[in-house]
Symmetry: C2
Subunit: 382 residues, 2 copies
């Protein structure tokens, strides 16, 4: 039994990002665990740790309080039923796989995350995009959803689902879910809202937004260890999505019985008090973001997407960085390098034309440090 494997490289794996740096990566800023969750991890790190008192289904476990947690989550989102999943993409696939028939069309915004398209392909469906208004706002016009649906109907296509990216990962635009949900409802199509960048960061009221399904991400926006997600469903669709096996009567097919059997669901729960409190301070987060934009536009950054910002994810055009890169011997890497010296990370290496960042959850002092550092880098490089 000589496997000829050097196993030493798996010993002592380290990560310095969160301990030593201010991380500006928008996909990571709202996935940082609060202390309470870190403490709970010590208790539950072993495999199947949440299953000590299981009597057949993850979502019904009372110790730890998974069942209550899912009911509280439904209250938090103003939806009827919730289930843990492995992430927002898995939530979306579950909806598509169970409410659509092969070949159906999914109508979705052109700002949609790549996983929406991949889930559509995996579920053997077609799609029709609703184009955004393009540069520089990339705004999604609700009326365009109506037009797109009308056109598909006129050409005899079968529409299975209307999908909207509540906040997109390219521009951090907050779409008008309420209006688009209303259009979907009036047309009689189920409406899936991808809240990977909203639930857990900002208040989301599913009923107010006319959502039939909400897909949320634990690791992206709910201060949980990955991979973890939530699928929240309105009663009307609950029986379909949560259909159980003919042979094993309590097992839900789309969950393959149980989904998040370990640390991810545990950290979702233990971070929940923190998340409930932080969404109440969303206005303050938006203020920080707008401050960041205002300050960086002064040195030649140009904010893309709808202005003023309604979400912490910011995409900038940065011609000024591109200009500096032309004459710096580190080329495009100078910015990453200079930020690193100042213990700031999470900006893509080598990019200078455009970049994305977020200061979500940072203190005002940290936000100011970030702003001052970037200003200093740009000014001293010119």
């Amino acid at each position: 039994m000589n496997f000829n494997i050097n196993i030493d490289k798996y010993r002592n794996l380290k990560r310095s990002m969160e301990r030593e740096m201010i991380n500006l990566n928008p996909i990571q800023r709202a996935g940082v665990l609060p202390i309470e969750s870190k403490k709970a991890i010590y208790e539950f790190w072993d495999g199947y740790s949440v299953c000590d008192y299981c009597s057949g289904r993850l979502d019904k476990i009372e110790t730890p309080p998974i069942h209550e947690f899912l009911e509280d989550l439904s209250k938090f989102l103003n939806m009827d039923v919730s289930r843990p999943t492995h992430g927002a993409r898995e939530s979306k696939f579950i909806v598509m796989n169970s409410v659509c028939k092969e070949g159906d069309y999914v109508v979705l915004d052109s700002n949609a995350h790549y996983t929406s398209y991949v889930a559509i392909e995996r579920a053997k469906l077609n799609y029709q995009e609703v184009e955004s208004e393009g540069y520089p706002t990339f705004r999604i016009d609700p009326e365009k959803y109506k037009e797109t649906i009308d056109n598909l109907e006129d050409s005899g296509k079968n529409i299975g689902l209307i999908l909207l990216t509540h906040v997109d990962g390219n521009y951090g635009n907050l779409a008008d879910a309420e209006k688009i949900g209303k259009i979907a409802r009036e047309k009689g199509y189920p409406f899936l809202l991808n809240c990977a960048y909203s639930v857990g960061r900002m208040p989301v009221d599913g009923k107010k937004l006319n959502a039939d399904f909400i897909a949320a991400s634990g690791h992206k926006s709910m201060a949980a260890s990955g991979p973890a997600g939530i699928l929240s469903i309105n009663d009307e669709f609950a029986d379909g999505i949560l259909k159980t096996s003919k042979k094993f009567l309590v097992k839900e097919l789309e969950m393959l019985g149980c989904t998040s059997r370990g640390l991810p669901i545990l950290t979702l729960m233990t971070s929940f008090p923190h998340v409930v409190e932080r969404v109440k301070k969303w206005d303050e987060e938006v203020k920080k973001t707008r401050y960041l934009v205002k300050e960086l536009e002064e040195i030649g950054f140009i904010q893309l997407g709808v202005a003023p910002k309604e979400h912490d994810l910011v995409r900038f055009e940065t011609p000024i960085l591109d200009e500096i890169a032309q004459k710096d011997k580190r080329r495009g890497y100078f910015f990453y390098d200079e930020l690193k010296k100042r213990k700031i990370g999470g900006i893509k290496r080598g990019t200078t034309k455009e970049l994305k960042m977020s200061v979500y959850g940072l203190s005002w002092e940290q936000v100011e440090y970030v702003v001052d550092s970037i200003k200093e880098i740009v000014k001293s490089s010119l």
Copy 2:
């Protein structure tokens, strides 16, 4: 924003099982993390922690060394290509969803895990069971696979996949994968081996066992935090299973882009050195199990499944416990209760007719303590 939720119940969640008890639960014994993994968790507990240096696909990440890990895993299993998944059930669904066509038959053993059936139903497939020899061995006869396949062919059914449970979760029987794999190959059908209870506990050589696909479980048998699994594939089927999106050319459809983006894959990696070493000591684990069986049969337990044991999961008929329960005022709970007093857990509460246990990974001293405790409970209750 008053959500009317009592968030205090999610604070300070505790689990005493592994810290204070000897846990005999077969689904948990091989999911206990080694110290190395516990240390690494401190580094990577935040959401998307493994994605700091991602350039578009989880399985290609070099820091931490996920890419190398997957190559090493393929060596370890003697297979060609490996991917992380959320668990063995998710691996099985991926195979079914991509190699079978709607309505195809899956041939599987009657000892199969419930998730094999649930995955079949979710993938809209049919199945035909190969019956075991029944009480008391519940052995799977390879020849029966041949008969079942012949019968399906004779009745014009389309067979999409042959599935075998390498070691089943009811009796801990080790099936003759090599022979059944050979039958599948000769008949020209793809062969999926469910190794949720074998890979990570004992040596598994995929090519020797004629496996086209291996589904493995991180939290069940590879000393990882859940949910984590592995799908290993032979080259012949790799392109089909790992088909990429038409729109996002690097994204694998069946993985929805990426799967295990966080602690589960991290602990799979950091536990790998421990796992590679421990499978070399499998003979010793079998010895411990046979010792347990011999000792407990002396006090009236009867081992079900193939004898002598070839795996650590043991199912006992326990008429002696049933007899004691008749006159104990705690009824069926006396056994659980008495074990608990002795700091032994993981046996289902209230069951006295049959029970499952495993002493996998316990020291000989602990095994003896378990045996002596059970003997003492039975003898003093008679």
